[in-house]
Symmetry: C2
Subunit: 347 residues, 2 copies
């Protein structure tokens, strides 16, 4: 979602509305793909394509979960480029500027295939029905949960349980707080339409981060002793924090790297197969600094920050925990899905 997700009255490059708090449009296409096809969309390997820009934190969640669960053969992956105009995400990185499976140049086309009058933001992640070329859902929060709970028949051997039944209440609760004040909180800072709106968002963001810093000082993961959906959701914001939110969105009380537990936690996840290997820092910076022309009119992309810290030892093993529970880490990233080695500190 993120940046296609604009208030309807906004125009290309315009994300701030003077005098207002930032309001995320949270109306999505909410169909679900389920094992019992109760919404009309059955789980069916090879039928759907996940369209997810690496730049976008909401889309990054789905890329991580797909890989952790080993759904690469069941659901293919389309990767729009990092920058877009007022008509939103394009497949400008693909040969000929077209998604090789869907054959479209703009993600907009898949939304219009679903509804020719589609009135809202063209957002990623979007799951597209390949035969019809129409978007099934762009409801980012439900997409990852359904990958965990509805696609179980197609999970790889050793796939972790990211949304185990006995922990769902706790995961939902913390995910809700993290969404409100952190995932969306950084956008509320960056797209604030007034000093007062920014000040409020900043206070809420850092109060929430302080609380997470405390929580993660003595436990390795957010919920239970394994990686869950809650960690995926926090990770995609943390990994962008110093690269874009700190400067571009003015989330600058401190860098993530100045919060010892959160920084070690983020590095632990980054170095875990399935997390850091989905992260493209160059695309992330290009996206934010080029697309939001109302807060960065020059479109100049900073060279910093130095990313080498992401691969330094984090020491979190000392807290115990079993990242994959009774499962195993995913194998190497598939051909054609690897992040450009020049865009990541991972070796």
């Amino acid at each position: 979602m993120s940046d296609g997700d604009r208030p309807e009255h906004s125009r290309g490059g315009t994300y701030t509305v003077p005098g207002t708090d930032y309001q995320r449009d949270t109306r999505y296409i909410t169909d679900r793909i389920t094992a019992d096809a109760r919404h009309g969309w059955p789980v069916e390997p090879g039928r759907y394509r996940l369209v997810a820009a690496r730049a976008c934190p909401w889309a990054n969640r789905s890329i991580i979960v797909r890989r952790l669960l080993g759904l690469e053969d069941a659901i293919s992956l389309g990767l729009p480029g990092p920058t877009h105009d007022e008509r939103s995400w394009t497949f400008d990185l693909d040969p000929g500027g077209r998604d090789p499976v869907l054959g479209i140049e703009r993600l907009q086309e898949a939304f219009f295939a679903r509804d020719p009058e589609y009135p809202r933001g063209i957002t990623v992640p979007a799951v597209v029905d390949v035969p019809s070329g129409a978007v099934v859902t762009n409801d980012f929060a439900q997409i990852t949960l359904d990958l965990s709970t509805e696609w179980t028949a197609h999970h790889r051997e050793g796939a972790p349980e990211l949304y185990p039944e006995h922990l769902r209440d706790e995961i939902d609760e913390i995910a809700q707080e993290v969404f409100k004040d952190v995932n969306n909180g950084v956008y509320r800072c960056g797209f604030a339409g007034s000093q007062e709106a920014y000040d409020r968002a900043y206070r809420r963001l850092f109060a929430a981060l302080d609380k997470l810093e405390e929580r993660l000082t003595h436990r390795r993961f957010l919920v239970g002793d394994t990686i869950t959906e809650a960690d995926v959701r926090l990770f995609t914001t943390l990994v962008r924090f110093d690269a874009v939110y700190h400067g571009h969105f003015k989330c600058n009380r401190n860098k993530l790297s100045e919060m010892p537990a959160l920084w070690a936690y983020a590095r632990d996840l980054f170095q875990t197969p399935g997390f850091g290997d989905t992260v493209d820092f160059v695309q992330i910076k290009q996206h934010y600094y080029v697309v939001h022309t109302d807060i960065n009119p020059t479109r100049i992309v900073p060279q910093g920050p130095d990313l080498s810290g992401w691969v330094t030892p984090h020491g979190r093993e000392a807290l115990g925990g079993r990242p994959f529970g009774d499962g195993t880490p995913p194998g190497p990233v598939r051909d054609g899905e690897r992040v450009d080695p020049a865009h990541t500190p991972l070796r």
Copy 2:
């Protein structure tokens, strides 16, 4: 100087020129006030007023040097507010919005008193002849040297030698490098008119900072074993680094606080009477974020960074050195010249 100092073709709030490297207009009114009055302007206590906005790094130098040398009784101080429009600095913090000594609302008036057709930037610091109300000089680099070398008869007892004869070549050499790649280098990053211009400026800035980090690892001050003009010049950029240059100007390879020697050096100076007690972080942030509307159109001023680190122990005493040489630190800041306690971490 800084922000009144714009290319002539630029307009209010516009500091970047698309497609270009940032070019500082370095043409000033270069008269000098000397003990022998050879430029027509004699050293004369009570005759001149130093107009120096706390926000501006070039003006901050002159505020520091005046205080280190104890020239408060000889030269009075006018303090424009942090923000300004296309007509430049105003006395909006003074009662009635007028400088109490010069009686003017805008610094521009003192430049026009000197030359009704004055065509260049209205910059601080400016030294104004009180009887005529006309600017004598705004040549910031010469102003501080002349305070050190021409006003000696009026220095306080125990004033340090900031520009000692036997060290002038070394001070000039390092000050020139620091000016080019650091003092002005941060502006070249922030006001770059193209990605390429920014990339060049960023590389030069951090190469210069790395060199300074190395130099200051084993010596307490830049030149000799006491504070000199060279330290004053580096300090005013370093003290603004994390607060404005890191985010607003995209000087973001790392924060100053991530370079151990430079950060300890900057804290050492900050905690030395005459340096940190001239620094108003709130005015600094307001100035940069409100005035440069072409790079921060929302004019929202970040709440960060956390400033508490500035008053932490720096450990630089272990390197030896005698900050004031055979002299002594200045006494408390004068009434009416103190930085608002809410604008500084100093207690």
